[in-house]
């Protein structure tokens, strides 16, 4: 594919709001995870909660969208001059020539979950529960499209934990085939009861902080996050470049990855082919790395099948938690930070590396000039997406 300029990007996770706070935390190898104290949830698990969302206020015309997920989106849109960059792109290309393609798994479901606790005598939900602008999967896309008065095509991809990686692929296709000249991509997912109690029901939550690639890893830590990037057909300067995308499906099981990582291998190879790069030209792989025993084992095999065992890899979910539908976007942003800074961010919380996992896992921060990085995102339903991102030229 023809490389696309990432002219602006930003993110908010438990590590902080914006690129500078995120990069500082990565450089300091600081985790944003802590024991769960979310609402009245009594689960022995750790989460990556974004602080301060209660104070975020949407502007009056967008109040109808007010919910935790959209507040998190709004907070991220205010970081790093992202909103100004979108307005500039709107002037450059025209409102109808910019797509809005975002990912989420649960959108504003939390407010509906809480509304079910306060149903009226006839079983009705309280007025705060709004379907179209809060609960519905597309609410995130509608908010962003309306906030910037964008008039191009828009949708929200919801393929569980690969959602916001896959929107990069959709955006590349829309730009390639001339439907638009730019796309606002990314994803937002916020803590809610369905995911916390759901992953608990599947016995996939770690009772301690998640430990990707550790011999004693016991599951994931859920995080929340928002990440946005602006992709443009061309640009004089950019924070980095989208070089390739790859998508596949396992066709194997709804909630367990293919043991040999067959679908993951296909996604990585497709992304490399799209980027016209050989595996040795990738300086860093940001792993999906959820810290469930089965994910890390399957992904280790898949990455070695594509890259061998010499390419440095890490999972940053020990820092951010697993931000689910936002993870692809968050980790694309982290790759762009790594590429710009020459930082190979450590996978945190590693005590005893699992001897069965044999990629070059980065346990302490390293420094190296980076030209290209690959990010993996895999999800329930066997969905896989890989992105290849390039350094600023």
């Amino acid at each position: 594919m023809r490389p696309l300029a990432v002219t602006e990007h930003t993110l908010v996770t438990a590590l902080g709001a914006g690129r500078a706070a995120t990069l500082a935390a990565l450089r300091a190898q600081r985790s944003g995870l802590g024991p769960a104290r979310f609402l009245d949830v009594e689960l022995p698990t750790w989460v990556g909660e974004v602080t301060g969302l209660d104070e975020v206020a949407l502007p009056a015309p967008l109040q109808v969208f007010d919910c935790r997920n959209n507040r998190l989106a709004w907070l991220a849109l205010q970081q790093d001059g992202f909103a100004d960059a979108v307005r500039a792109a709107r002037v450059r290309w025209g409102a109808q020539r910019i797509a809005v393609l975002l990912g989420t798994s649960t959108a504003g479901l939390l407010e509906t979950e809480l509304g079910y606790r306060r149903r009226g005598p006839g079983g009705e939900l309280p007025a705060e529960v709004r379907y179209e602008e809060r609960q519905n999967t597309y609410s995130l896309g509608a908010l962003v499209r309306r906030a910037f008065d964008l008039r191009g095509p828009a949708w929200v991809v919801s393929t569980a934990c690969s959602s916001s990686a896959k929107v990069y692929a959709s955006a590349a296709r829309l730009i390639e085939h001339g439907l638009v000249d730019a796309a606002l991509v990314g994803g937002v997912d916020s803590l809610c009861l369905t995911t916390l109690y759901g992953f608990n029901a599947l016995e996939l939550l770690s009772p301690e902080v998640c430990r990707p690639w550790d011999a004693e890893r016991r599951g994931l830590s859920i995080g929340e996050g928002a990440a946005f990037a602006l992709l443009e057909r061309d640009a004089a300067s950019a924070h980095g470049w989208l070089l390739g995308t790859g998508e596949s499906n396992d066709g194997y099981h709804m909630s367990t990855p293919h043991p040999e990582g067959a679908g993951a291998i296909a996604a990585m190879r497709a992304a490399l082919a799209g980027a016209s790069l050989e595996p040795h030209q990738i300086g860093y792989v940001n792993l999906h790395g959820t810290a469930t025993p089965s994910n890390d084992a399957a992904e280790d095999r898949a990455v070695r099948a594509v890259f061998g065992a010499a390419t440095p890899c890490s999972s940053t979910k020990g820092a951010t938690g697993h931000t689910l539908g936002a993870a692809g976007g968050v980790e694309a942003s982290i790759c762009l930070l790594a590429l710009g800074d020459g930082l190979l961010p450590a996978g945190l919380n590693l005590r005893t590396p699992d001897p069965a996992l044999r990629v070059d896992y980065v346990g302490e921060n390293r420094r190296a000039p980076l030209r290209a990085a690959l990010s993996n995102s895999f999800g329930f339903g066997g969905t896989n997406a890989s992105l290849v991102l390039g350094a600023p030229r």
Binding site: Q96, R117, S139, G152, W155, V156, A160, L179, N249
Partner: protein
């Protein structure tokens, strides 16, 4: 803007009073009035027994229309990329989860949680046909059909390979039904392939147009079909299916997002089998 083109090689349909695309042709052509009888998606025979037991209404509906489109196109589904479009996923499953989560120390069913992902129908389909081809699942609220069509058509342009588009919606029970009153389930599947000059059912050329340029969306003359088109997001594609059933060259305009529409030029295929 250059249009996106694709051949229609198979169609699937299931909705109230619409048992399949094949069975509904007289209604779609306007020869027989539409009669509203509840949609009844069958249990998906393609799935292994364990997954078949776990398949809820949204999965059954999506698989039924996908099956019809694939069978009509006589294509191997194990290498077929898919786009699943739904406004809101499975309403009854969402309701059951929310009820459980409203209780103290809730214990969720692992199957209900797994089935709650928007891409559950896609996941079950790819298991059923053992396909590792790419798949995406998306929503654009009432514009979900149009969004899925654009994603499918751009994938065909990008990869030069067929894509199965499945647009489907199932209703919510109360109390969510009051907030999102979908009257019944409806699904449409299109097996789309790179334009090759000899389309089975027709050749589509689509482009995005601003609503003030293209005028009002194409409606269904039959009041029953028109009610369905207006009330169920997936049924937004019914005017296109009517045109395919009639086998005539025509222009169909579909509402997509506020102030944005899809203009579809349909060129009919050969004589119907």
């Amino acid at each position: 803007m250059s249009g996106l083109r694709a051949d229609v090689r198979g169609v699937g349909l299931l909705g109230p009073g619409l048992a399949s695309f094949a069975a509904a042709r007289p209604v779609l052509r306007g020869d027989v009035p539409h009669a509203w009888t509840a949609a009844a998606p069958p249990a998906p025979s393609r799935l292994p027994p364990a997954e078949r037991r776990r398949a809820g209404p949204s999965i059954r509906l999506a698989m039924a229309v996908a099956d019809e489109a694939v069978a009509a196109a006589d294509i191997d589904p194990s290498r077929l990329a898919t786009v699943f479009s739904s406004s809101g996923g499975e309403g009854s499953n969402c309701h059951a989860l929310c009820e459980t989560l409203a209780s103290p120390a809730p214990l969720l069913s692992p199957t209900r949680f797994t089935n709650s992902v928007h891409n559950a129908p896609a996941g079950y389909w790819h298991i059923a046909v053992a396909s590792q081809a790419a798949s995406t699942s998306l929503s654009a609220y009432d514009g979900s059909f149009g969004a899925g069509l654009i994603e499918a058509m751009t994938q065909i342009e990008a990869n030069g390979a067929p894509v199965l588009l499945v647009a489907s919606d199932v209703p919510y029970p109360e109390p969510l039904h009051r907030l999102r009153p979908l009257p019944d389930a409806c699904g449409i599947a299109l097996l789309l392939a790179p334009a090759a000059g000899a389309p089975r059912l027709g050749c589509l050329s689509i482009e995005l147009v601003e609503a003030h340029v293209s005028g009002p969306a194409t409606t269904c003359a039959d009041p029953g079909l028109e009610a369905l088109r207006r009330q169920v997001p997936a049924a937004a594609g019914l005017p296109l299916l009517q045109a395919l059933a009639r086998g005539i060259a025509c222009e169909v305009v579909l509402d997509y997002l506020p102030a944005l529409q899809l203009r579809i030029d349909l060129r009919p295929g050969g004589p119907m089998p």
